[in-house]
Symmetry: C2
């Protein structure tokens, strides 16, 4: 427990620091110069995190990360454009669903949930279909926690001359993305993930040159990234009421991000969290869904035990009573649950969570945490 | 100043209470039962404020109020529908702009900024054009502060059998709206206005029967009100990451709203604020843009003084230094500025603001606050 409330071992909203939450204790006028300066400094820092200072602009967007993903797709992909989506999980499918709503043509590379798209496969798909204008890639597919190979896919896009839009919702600030070096058109993320702010705003770091060509593409006034950017450039203000307290919390979170040592330190802490979690859970008998080589240090999917005494919701309640919130699985074909490694937490917290899970299993009378398939295979 | 930061005399974000801000000092899991209960209780209270318990549902929406307005229009108006918009200010024009983005047919009743649409005029327009399916009305047009006659327009819509969608952004919680008695299809508002929460979520209180017919209308995944409602009904959860801290702040703000005495008390306090403001400013020589009969107790537009020593931004800076944030005008043809009466503030605060304005005028060497037109007319 932190200050009497449970730690969130989820992919966001996640546990924030007290300093970040305390930044919400004042009100801000959305027309005031002090708030405009806050917004500008946040955008500058977000652009720098993905090395876009010379080439890219950061456009913030009210709402959850999905709002920013939709804004990016709706604004950057022309109405007669076509998007290739490698699909290996729920968030990839959400992109396809957005494209269906928008009426934008699209094609999929359909993969198993533990299979990654390769640069070669993307390149083949691009060569085969010249109508494709963009590729939309989920960096870490939080449905499983799988890390997709961003750099080789980015290179395939550059070689084929197509725009790459990256949903980096759960990796931005923790895993390095270099938009300039890799020629990435846009990276989308949100306040409440690895930056450890509170939820309530998304943002798109987008190549200014690409954004300039986008006037009139958007299907939505609220989600028109070009209009948001144009207005903000001219006035320093958001077009519509900004989530002022969320922006102030993100500013505080970015200060702590810098103080921690930036992306390298943040990523290393999450890696230690992930290692402590996987080690502890494996020792209890749990089996991760993904092989270690494909696992991002963000969220880990575990098979549920085959033992009939086990139910996820009983585990959830018992572990919650001990101060930790777990996350349900999102796979359709295999019964799983997830434990997040991100947020203002350290490896001791993850060890504490593993102890709480062990105690809960004992209370439930679960004698083995081994998954069904293991039992069958063994 | 409140705790060292200026009071916001704006139409939102506005000044909140410390209790509301302190509600953001804990994190919430968006899948957790405790947070689902928070969301459900907020939605229940919001529905009750406009007397919709028996007929209407409250669907929350991430983002600013404009996101909720767009969600309501995009979801409730069928693709072959047509919307009549009485236009007497900037927020009415914004509705028209949304309809243009959505590709929904629309017609306007064009009015001067100090002229209100009447029920009779709306009825005539509806009789003349059977293609119109909906009327979209801004209750208080914050561009000027004018109060549009909701009830007579609602009755015209009921008589003509058309749906009425009300943008009650700046009146919800302060001026009474009875969706059941007046047969209103939907009322749209947001967390950060008269409910005195922080900005970051909007909501639509909508007749359940109307919402049920709306599947497939929406142009946007994120802003699909029907999908948001369906998912929330089935799971108790938001479809996409909710602004958890904003929701918690709204819960605290609603508790204070009830403790104050609900809508009647809230509206009466704003009326006292407005009276204190107008009395004080008139005594200084300022002239309100609207006649008293059309003025909502939300935000007051004043003509700028004709005196050459006056500039709004100098006034803004000097009044800000004294602890109050004013609001620029939004009229195209007349030079004005605005002062809000809403938020966690009382008449003493408004009197303090008037004193600060008087001192600022003196410092600027403004000898008369009389407006140009008065000077010409006199």
């Amino acid at each position: 427990m932190s200050d009497g409330f449970p730690l969130l071992l989820t992919p966001g909203p996640l546990t924030t620091s007290e300093a970040t939450r305390r930044a919400m204790l004042r009100d801000w006028g959305s027309w005031d110069a002090a708030f405009n300066a806050l917004t500008a400094s946040v955008c500058k820092d977000l652009t720098a995190i993905v090395h876009g200072e010379a080439t890219h602009a950061c456009v913030p967007m009210q709402g959850s990360g999905t709002f920013a993903v939709e804004a990016a797709l709706g604004t950057l992909v022309p109405r007669d454009g076509k998007v290739l989506v490698p699909v290996n999980g729920a968030y990839c499918k959400r992109i396809v669903k957005i494209l269906e709503y928008l009426g934008r043509a699209h094609a999929m590379i359909e993969l198993a949930e533990d299979e990654i798209p390769t640069g070669e496969r993307v390149e083949r798909a691009l060569d085969a279909d010249p109508a494709i204008t963009h590729v939309a890639l989920v960096h870490c597919e939080t449905g499983t926690g799988i890390l997709n190979p961003l750099e080789e896919i980015a290179r395939a896009c550059v070689r084929a001359g197509r725009g790459l839009i990256v949903d980096a919702m759960s990796t931005f600030g923790a895993l390095d993305i270099d938009v300039a070096r890799e020629g990435i058109e846009a990276v989308v993320a949100a306040s409440g993930k690895c930056l450890e702010g509170v939820p309530g705003m998304g943002f798109v770091v987008v190549r200014a040159e690409a954004l300039e060509r986008c006037e009139g593409n958007a299907h939505s006034l609220a989600l028109d990234l070009h209009a948001q950017w144009t207005y903000m450039r001219a006035t320093g203000q958001w077009r519509f009421t900004p989530p002022t307290h969320v922006v102030a919390a993100l500013r505080a979170a970015l200060d702590q991000f810098a103080a921690e040592g930036g992306l390298a330190a943040r990523g290393a802490r999450y890696r230690r969290n992930c290692d402590a979690l996987v080690r502890g859970m494996t020792a209890l008998g749990f089996r991760p869904f993904l092989p270690a080589a494909l696992q991002a240090p963000i969220i880990v999917t575990f098979h549920v035990p085959a033992d009939a005494a086990f139910t996820f919701w009983a585990l959830y309640e018992k572990v919650r009573a001990r101060g930790f919130i777990l996350y349900p699985g999102k796979l359709t074909r295999v019964d799983t649950f997830r434990v997040g490694c991100i947020g203002a937490i350290g490896e001791d917290d993850l060890r504490g969570a593993v102890r709480a899970i062990a105690e809960a299993l004992e209370e439930m009378g679960v004698r083995s945490a081994a998954a069904a398939e293991v039992a069958v295979a063994g």
